[in-house]
């Protein structure tokens, strides 16, 4: 149930964007009602001009005011719709400052190290380049396996008993991991190499928020959409 009186919420996103998924999961975790507006990146609508600096999704528009950058949005949602007593709206970042610092560290790691390597796999134009990016991706995932052991402390999620900041920072990439498996036969989260993450990925996928927000389970279909997106993006950039 959305909290009364917290204003009108819109989210500008893209079906294929993991960053938009982060924002959507955060809103879902808090039970916030919002209007979702799928953007056309190659014909940027007026609404996307709410992000004149980067012209990227996601953009959260709360009572007409835009907030940009997925992790900034997630923290904003966490602060505005702070945990209530009704069970919905559990805290995304932990309460203690040290726990928050650790969560922010790993989310930054995912964005700075894992995401560029993963994108590199998809954008690579030679097998050699792809193999290099795959190596970097696997190294990052191994690091995150260790992070999971530390952060979860034996519980189900990075956030402990419930989905938290790092869970959604990483969980939003699961569709892209699936696409990479379809397109290149690469298993990013390999149960043999990173068993904790493999088990986590399954649990994450089973959560109500993930089920509602993550794109359709037809991996081949999703991979095709993603491929089409990258091709169109490359063509647009080449102009």
């Amino acid at each position: 149930m959305a909290e009364e009186g917290k204003g009108e919420v819109k989210l500008l996103g893209l079906h294929v964007s993991p960053f938009a998924i982060r924002a959507r999961i955060a809103l879902r975790l808090k039970g916030v009602s919002y209007e979702y507006l799928e953007q056309d990146l190659f014909h940027k609508g007026d609404l996307l001009l709410s992000n004149p600096v980067n012209r990227k999704v996601p953009v959260l528009i709360h009572d007409g005011k835009p907030i940009c950058e997925s992790l900034v949005i997630v923290q904003y949602v966490d602060e505005v719709w702070a945990a209530g007593g009704d069970g919905e709206g559990t805290a995304i970042l932990p309460a203690d400052p040290y726990g928050r610092a650790i969560a922010r560290f790993w989310a930054a790691y995912i964005d700075d190290k894992l995401f560029p390597a993963l994108t590199g796999i998809m954008k690579a134009t030679t097998e050699e380049a792809r193999a290099e990016k795959a190596k970097e991706t696997f190294a990052a995932v191994e690091q995150l396996e260790k992070a999971f052991a530390e952060c979860s402390d034996g519980k189900s999620f990075f956030g402990g008993d419930s989905v938290g900041y790092v869970d959604l920072a990483l969980g939003c990439l699961l569709p892209w991991f699936g696409a990479v498996r379809e397109m290149f036969g690469l298993e990013i989260i390999d149960a043999a190499k990173t068993p904790l993450l493999a088990a986590w990925a399954e649990r994450f996928g089973e959560t109500a928020a993930a089920k509602e927000v993550l794109p359709e389970p037809d991996k081949a279909e999703y991979a095709k959409k993603l491929q089409a997106h990258w091709t169109a993006a490359a063509a647009a950039a080449a102009k």
Partner: protein, 237 residues
């Protein structure tokens, strides 16, 4: 606060460490500063930041916190009583502060480095153009955030002031290092005035490294990189 042990692993020229020192200085916090030799990193650094092996690292009662943005937010959250409060209290303004910090790190710093290391005249010209465009955007950010007051944070220094302030010695070196006057008073009057104002603060003076030293350090860094590249090119031939 009694019983709080704070150590900072840093480097005198590091703009990231400078951000943290500014935050600690502004908050009036006592800490032990440990200068790292980046060519010969200490066991403590390697243990405290095994993932990146970089400075700054703040060690609070034995627990390490890494990444300048994260450390400064941590300091602000753990020592809320110590003024100034760096992050604004309003969630929307906090989001804006975090957004602009990301922009500074992803655009200002990256473009600055690209300009600094540009090899050809054409590349340098292109990068300088991009860098000036970024600075123009930051001028707009300052106008938005300050709302006519002296700092990004308003009447007193805030998070964004610290984030940009930490870079100040390097930014002032831009004319000598990249051939462009970054905070030009005609082009970006607000930023130019802000830079002077911030630099004049006692807390900033206590922490910001000498611009001349930074310029020399940067030139050495660039020369070292060029030498390494040349050596690598040689071994490939």
């Amino acid at each position: 606060m009694a019983g709080d042990e704070l150590k900072l692993l840093g480097h005198w020229a590091s703009e990231w460490a400078c951000r943290v020192r500014l935050a600690l200085q502004l908050k009036g916090l006592t800490y032990e500063y440990l200068e790292e030799d980046l060519d010969n990193k200490s066991e403590l650094l390697l243990m405290s930041n095994p993932v990146h092996k970089k400075v700054p690292v703040l060690i609070h009662n034995g627990k390490p916190i890494c990444e300048s943005m994260i450390i400064v937010q941590y300091i602000d959250e753990v020592f809320p009583g110590a003024s100034p409060s760096l992050l604004p209290s309003d969630p929307y303004e906090r989001a804006a502060a975090r957004f602009w910090t990301t922009y500074m790190d992803d655009k200002l710093v990256v473009t600055w480095i690209q300009t600094f290391f540009a090899k050809t005249i054409e590349e340098k010209a292109e990068r300088m153009k991009q860098l000036l465009a970024v600075v123009d955007t930051l001028e707009g950010a300052l106008e938005e955030c300050s709302k006519g007051k002296p700092f990004f944070g308003g009447d007193s220094v805030g998070y964004l002031d610290v984030m940009l302030g930490g870079l100040l010695s390097w930014l002032h070196g831009t004319e000598a290092l990249c051939g462009v006057d970054l905070f030009n008073a005609t082009r970006t009057p607000l930023l130019s005035a802000w830079a002077e104002r911030f630099g004049a603060l006692d807390d900033a003076k206590a922490v910001l490294p000498d611009i001349g030293r930074v310029i020399e350090f940067a030139k050495m860094w660039r020369a070292q990189m060029a030498a390494t590249e040349a050596a690598t090119a040689d071994t490939k031939n």
